[in-house]
């Protein structure tokens, strides 16, 4: 915070010190207000005592209490966390395997596989959403009346499909800095392939695995469009629930739910950035 304040204090500008020029500073301020004013007012009004969300009428935690008593919302929240956890686990494994396959081996169809891994990142969400709708509607109908959490299977599969390519990108970037001679030395000294992988390659990959996992978790927790097309009436996720609340009514409860979701993402992002920071400092 202190750094922020010194940045605001005027000082004599050098020729390249664009950050110290007033018109540009004002511009940056305006951009930040534009980015944060709506979010700040959303958080603020989740503590508003008035049911109508227009005027400030005093601080209250009622909406959070109300939210905690809303079984449908809490159920959706539990669904979202479960899906995100399962999807993260599978995405880290699949993404790492895909990255290693592309990094280590030259094989027939490598280009096609590379393209296939990249495509889910590029394809518009709506296209993937409708593809999943048809797939789970016609080709591989997911049984409707399974016990929790197995009824979340279709959504989880969809989430893994769009998340693990992102993990693969992160892991591939990290693999580029791996010195293969270290692994060869381990092999020469008698380590088995699996042992060399577990003791040499995996420790090198750890930062990428952590940031990949955070990325996968956030992507899953945040996804609305693709989930919207795969969710059934009994398998509602948090964003889908918030969407229906926004569609039908605007109450401070929506603000409270949104604030919770936002807080989780902010914490995860900060952890991710801090980890990346320590990772950079070590290098």
């Amino acid at each position: 915070m202190a750094g922020w304040l010194t940045w605001l204090r005027p000082r004599r500008a050098g020729p390249l010190d664009y950050a110290a020029r007033w018109p540009l500073r004002l511009w940056v301020m305006a951009v930040l207000v534009f980015l944060y004013l709506p979010l700040a007012s959303l958080v603020l009004f989740s503590f508003n005592a008035s049911r109508r969300t227009i005027r400030w009428e005093g601080f209250t935690l009622d909406w959070y209490a109300y939210m905690a008593g809303d079984d449908a919302l809490i159920g959706a929240f539990a669904n979202s966390l479960t899906i995100a956890a399962l999807s993260t686990l599978a995405s880290v494994v699949l993404g790492t395997l895909a990255a290693i396959a592309l990094w280590r081996y030259r094989f027939f169809g490598r280009g096609v596989f590379d393209g296939m891994v990249t495509l889910p990142i590029v394809v518009p969400e709506i296209c993937m959403g409708v593809a999943m709708l048809v797939f789970f509607g016609q080709i591989m109908p997911w049984p409707r009346d399974l016990a929790w959490p197995f009824d979340l299977g279709a959504i989880t599969i969809a989430h893994i499909t769009f998340s693990f390519p992102f993990v693969a990108v992160v892991v591939r970037a990290r693999l580029a800095s791996f010195n293969r001679e270290v692994e060869e030395a381990a092999r020469d000294l008698g380590a088995s392939e699996l042992r060399a992988f577990a003791d040499v390659l995996l420790p090198h990959l750890r930062p990428a695995l952590v940031s990949g996992a955070l990325l996968a978790f956030t992507l899953s927790l945040d996804d609305f469009v693709i989930t919207f097309f795969t969710a059934g009436p009994n398998t509602v996720t948090f964003p889908v629930k918030i969407y229906s609340m926004v569609r039908f009514s605007v109450t401070p409860e929506v603000n409270a739910a949104s604030t919770v979701l936002m807080a989780i993402t902010v914490v995860l992002t900060l952890i991710g950035m801090a980890l990346q920071g320590t990772d950079m400092a070590k290098r």
Binding site: G3, W7, P15, L16, Y18, A19, L24, R25, W27, V31, L32, F34, L35, Y36, L37, P38, L39, S41, L42, L94, L97, A98, A101, R104, Y105, F107, F108, F113, M116, V117, V123, P124, E125, I126, C127, M128, V130, A131, L133, V134, F135, Q138, I139, I157, A158, I160, F164, E193, L221, D222, F224, P239, Y243, V246, V250, V254, N255, V266, T269, M273
Partner: protein, 294 residues
């Protein structure tokens, strides 16, 4: 499994199969198959409620060129284009400040765009809805200077404002990474030779980082073009983009083949934009190589 740098021994071949199998099979089963089914449906005809006969007809694609749908495609392109242009104008100075800021401020400015970027899209859109309502803050502020209240929600302007709000980080982050790699002595030389700051930016900085700008523009344009949630929540009946029409075919209108054709048209547009970007980057790399060779 032909070719390769090192000949694979039996055991490493087994390892290779073990490494590749899971992600490859997953992608085929849950990505290639669903997309192929949609692709096949786009050449089909609806029989019943959810039954589709793939007949090889091109009628669905012909319908895409119906003026009604062409207009929606055109509108989507205009919305995405306007969004990208506004994002570029807003984002470029921000990225410039970020590039030349002190280390600590740089991290904070980066964090300031990253946080909204990671915040749920739905939450951000909802936040914007609340601000733009006729009893929202913007109208309150306008009321103080004797204007309004204006009906801002459910207009085309609201959709563009929402798309800009959501996509600003998409352009700031790549712009920053390209400006950060710029050779600063070029700017110093230009200033020393008497050019003003604006002239330096437009005649030196912009041409040098042009490939990066193009790349940033596309990274903003592509997701904006396929937006579903923002026009759905902020727009009115006449501000629909392609994604909303696709959604309607699959949910209410129940015309899957036509929806499939529409989504593949959107996909082709996206891939064309990606290909154009790759081409532009290769050409730019070639030019740099030429210059270095000379």
């Amino acid at each position: 499994m032909t070719g390769g740098n090192n000949r694979m021994t039996g055991s490493s071949r087994a390892t290779f199969a073990a490494v590749l199998a899971a992600p490859a099979l997953w992608l085929i089963a849950f990505f290639v198959v669903p997309m192929s089914v949609i692709w096949a449906y786009s050449f089909g005809r609806t029989l019943g409620l959810t039954e589709v006969a793939v007949t090889g007809t091109l009628a669905n694609y012909a319908r895409v060129f119906d003026p009604v749908y062409l207009m929606i495609f055109a509108k989507s392109l205009v919305f995405a284009g306007a969004t990208t242009a506004i994002c570029l104008v807003i984002g470029f100075p921000y990225a410039l400040v970020m590039t030349f800021a002190a280390q600590r401020a740089k991290v904070l400015l980066l964090l300031a765009v990253m946080l909204p970027f990671w915040t749920n899209l739905l939450v951000r859109t909802y936040a914007l809805m609340a601000v733009m309502r006729s009893e929202g803050w913007v109208n309150d502020a306008l009321g103080l200077i004797g204007l309004g209240p204006f009906e801002m929600l459910h207009t085309n302007g609201a959709v563009i404002a929402g798309l800009v709000y959501v996509h600003l980080p998409f352009i700031v982050l790549p712009l920053f990474s390209t400006l950060d790699r710029l050779d600063r002595s070029l700017i110093e030389a230009s200033l020393d030779l008497g050019a003003g700051h604006l002239r330096t930016i437009f005649q030196i900085v912009v041409p040098v980082v042009w490939p990066g700008i193009l790349s940033a523009v596309l990274l903003c344009f592509i997701p904006a073009l396929g937006s579903y949630l923002t026009p759905d929540l902020l727009g009115g009946t006449d501000s629909q983009m392609i994604a909303s029409v696709i959604e309607r075919q699959f949910k209410r209108a129940n015309d899957w083949p036509f929806g499939a054709a529409l989504s593949f048209m959107l996909l082709y547009l996206t891939l064309a934009a990606m290909a154009w970007r790759a081409l532009a980057e290769r050409r730019a790399a070639g030019r740099t190589a030429d210059r270095a060779a000379r």
